[in-house]
Symmetry: C2
Subunit: 500 residues, 2 copies
């Protein structure tokens, strides 16, 4: 070891190598022992900073070991007999070099690490986020208003010459190359944007969680180790990380608004039918809507000018907040929505929401019937190829008969009319999702139903909805949703700029 001025303190070298051996052997007990106990111990890597011995220990126990490596350089900066910084350059067996910086402190029990910072070379592409990426994957056709913008395309849109993967390896393996671009893709290219790549989706876009059973959970940079939100998960994470500026996705029942909320992004679900779904793999045609995510409201609107039909505008709208909706969210999320509503002078209004659970059940019945109608023939003999959560949805969908679907469709029709009546020409302020992004590994079933109660309104009535980023008191991203009458997408995009 090379040293800085002072000699290396006694026992430090031995402790350093004990740690390294334990790391290579995934000896979690030794690693836990060599990290200082207590709430201020730190460990950071590309997935975020862990604070406190408990978080670090939980991380170690769950990750299943670290890539094999050897130490190729060490530098010690000795502070005093009891404190030293050790910087090591590592060479990974899989290739590439990394760096590890550790602050060591001598305690009564021996040397302990109080802070560690670890860097390792990444893969060619983050396969949790992307299936294909390029510089660019597809060049712009433009020039136009989106010159220089880059798009992460959800893997349910056709990209000419590529297959649609739909988040499922078996589907991808059997897919044919698409002969044309989806209309939305083509419009973005004509407007000057290029395609950065094809982003992961949850299987068949039928989930809100942000965890794909085959490709893993895309990261959520502003809420490390929490769900990305779905099903437009890859598009959202790509935008969060700055790997693309526009995340093109779909929103059948919240698949834009949920990742926008979980990751602190802007997002829009367009009026059902307003933006073309030509050459987009359907999930439930009565509800599927084009949507997109960005890091700023200005770009959100500029994309709307490209993808949405022109139309009359009426941006000056009364804002309304509905305590019965806000109250569906957890208190820290509701607090953000209430504060937003108060700041912008929203009127509080009581709605009769007793039928909402029934409406939602009807929505899910129609969605299931339509999903099975479009995908069932392919899915039926391949259920074993589908992750457990989405598989269970397809299995239930197979049991929905035409009569049940017809009855549900009647309920949806009534619900849609009633919701449109309630919204009127106002803009409703509500939570984009009922909670902040759940920790990865947490149970998702209850959260899904709670989420659908909020996101289902726009789905049932085919309304446009814009998600704005908020932040809870504990510093986590959340979303405020603006809902308006059908066709008022551009008004909402304008309002998103005015209100943020």
């Amino acid at each position: 070891m090379t040293t800085r001025q002072r000699p290396v303190p006694d026992g430090l070298v031995e402790a350093f190598w004990e740690y390294e051996r334990a790391l290579m052997a995934d000896d979690v007990a030794t690693l836990d022992r060599l990290f200082a106990p207590g709430p201020t111990t730190l460990r950071g890597d590309a997935d975020g900073l862990l604070v406190g011995h408990d978080q670090i220990s939980a991380f170690r126990s769950s990750r299943g070991g670290t890539p094999q490596r050897r130490i190729v350089q060490t530098h010690v900066q000795t502070v005093d007999d009891d404190h030293a910084l050790v910087v090591a350059v590592t060479e990974l067996a899989r290739g590439g070099r990394g760096q590890q910086t550790q602050l060591w402190v001598r305690t009564a029990d021996g040397w302990r690490v109080t802070a560690a910072h670890v860097s390792a070379p990444g893969p060619a592409l983050d396969t949790r986020i992307w299936r294909l990426v390029g510089d660019p994957l597809v060049p712009a056709i433009g020039p136009g208003p989106l010159d220089g913008e880059t798009v992460a395309v959800k893997d349910v849109y056709a990209v000419r010459g590529e297959r649609i993967g739909a988040g499922n390896p078996a589907w991808l393996a059997e897919a044919r190359e698409e002969p044309v671009h989806a209309r939305a893709v083509e419009l973005l290219l004509e407007a000057g944007a290029s395609l950065r790549g094809i982003a992961r989706t949850e299987e068949f876009a039928w989930s809100l969680a942000g965890v794909n059973a085959h490709y893993g959970a895309p990261p959520n940079p502003r809420a490390p180790r929490r769900a990305a939100g779905g099903s437009s998960s890859g598009s959202a994470s790509a935008v969060s990380l700055g790997q693309a500026s526009i995340g093109l996705g779909t929103d059948t029942a919240g698949s834009i608004r949920v990742p926008a909320a979980y990751q602190g992004l802007y997002g829009i679900r367009t009026t059902h039918g307003a933006a073309s779904t030509y050459a987009v793999l359907p999930l439930a045609r009565s509800f599927d809507a084009v949507g997109w995510l960005t890091r700023d409201a200005g770009l959100l609107r500029r994309v709307g000018e490209v993808l949405l039909p022109p139309g009359p505008r009426n941006p000056a709208s009364d804002l309304v907040s509905v305590p019965g909706l806000t109250g569906l969210a957890e208190p820290e999320v509701a607090a953000v929505v209430d504060a937003f509503a108060a700041e912008h002078g929203a009127m509080r209004e009581s709605w009769d929401l007793t039928e909402l659970p029934a409406w939602l059940a009807a929505f899910q019945t129609v969605q299931a019937w339509e999903a099975w109608h479009d995908l069932g023939a392919w899915v039926a003999p391949r259920l074993d190829e589908i992750g457990p959560e989405v598989r269970a949805r397809f299995e239930a969908a197979a049991l929905v008969d035409d009569e049940q679907a017809a009855a549900a469709r009647q309920v949806v029709g009534r619900a849609s009319a009633r919701i449109r009546e309630l919204v009127g020409e106002r803009v409703v302020v509500l939570p984009s999702a009922p909670s902040v992004a759940p920790l990865l590994g947490a149970d998702r079933s209850a959260g899904r139903q709670a989420t659908l109660l909020l996101t289902g309104l726009a789905a049932l009535a085919g309304l446009p909805a814009v998600g704005l980023p908020g932040r809870t008191r504990s510093g986590l991203p959340t979303g405020v949703c603006l809902l308006a009458a059908p066709g008022r997408d551009r008004d909402l995009l304008e309002l998103a700029i005015d209100l943020t």
Copy 2:
């Protein structure tokens, strides 16, 4: 700031924010002042660890600022009144979060950083290395002996449905989609390997430096801030970083052997004509040879079993080293080659190399004529679209007339016969390149001619050559080259395993 037990020392917070403001303003003088002087100050990021204030200062002056960011969390671990570690979580304006760990020391002149470790989220793909990547870009056709291996394909090989980019944006923009895979690509797919992506090449593969004027210099992980070597630069860096296991490239005059040496990889240039160049963009057909790079000798051979024709084997060969060739390398490289030769009992032999410069000149004349013959019609009106070094080669090539080429071809023929005679049935041990990887930014012209003197032997005589990784006394990668008679590729691949 949250603190650990002890209070934050006086003045540290102010120094921290002074540094942050200077960083955002790219105020290099202030940054230099706030980093401790002397040879032990450290700064590391994804591109490697800088050691000493001088290196750090030079880096700062050349990088042209850092991405804009804001600090979203800070944690201070106070060691004593004069020492503290500050860990900060950053949020980049372009998206994503990073981490910065700094050890601060109070000196007579104020607080100074003695060590810094910086992490920032990467792009969707490293465009210095790759043009396109996927999970996979093209799936395996196999199964076969290369199951699970991933290939970085140099951007001169046809990949069905993709264009050939040849390292030049104008060429790429005009290219058509390839109707079939290059034969070598197809064989790898049939053998079970998948394509990870299409890797950058230097323009038209006509360089050995590893710096592309349009896309930058791919990183060299084992020799940070030094050249990757070319022209199979992207393939080599991808393999070094573990982003692919096989780097498929070409070697006209050293384009496999040079990156192998600079990056410490295994590499083979095959016998001219032995492995199919079908659907590979030519540079100089008389010399172009298929080649590949790996991180281990076993995989190097396994690829050979797929791409090379079967043939008689004669692995037991006398090794010969030629002081006149070894002496063309710098002393620290020559020392590695001499040690290798001595260890493996190579006989020393003197060759008359007085004609070597003339042979090389003839080689370059023929190469230039052939390059112009294949590419001149396209290049002539587009010289402005080509980087200065390669452009100069094309401009010179345009002046080579048929008569000069014919005369040069005669010299090449005589040289080839003479070289084959000298090599005979032995295996010649020589340096893969005359120097370690040059620092990026260093003058390249002299190095190129010196390199060609060594790499040109195999090129002139169409010989197979295997590059083995070595390491100089100062710890930098270098290469030992094994050269044999035409068709003895498999013998060399066998020998590479036996000798390492």
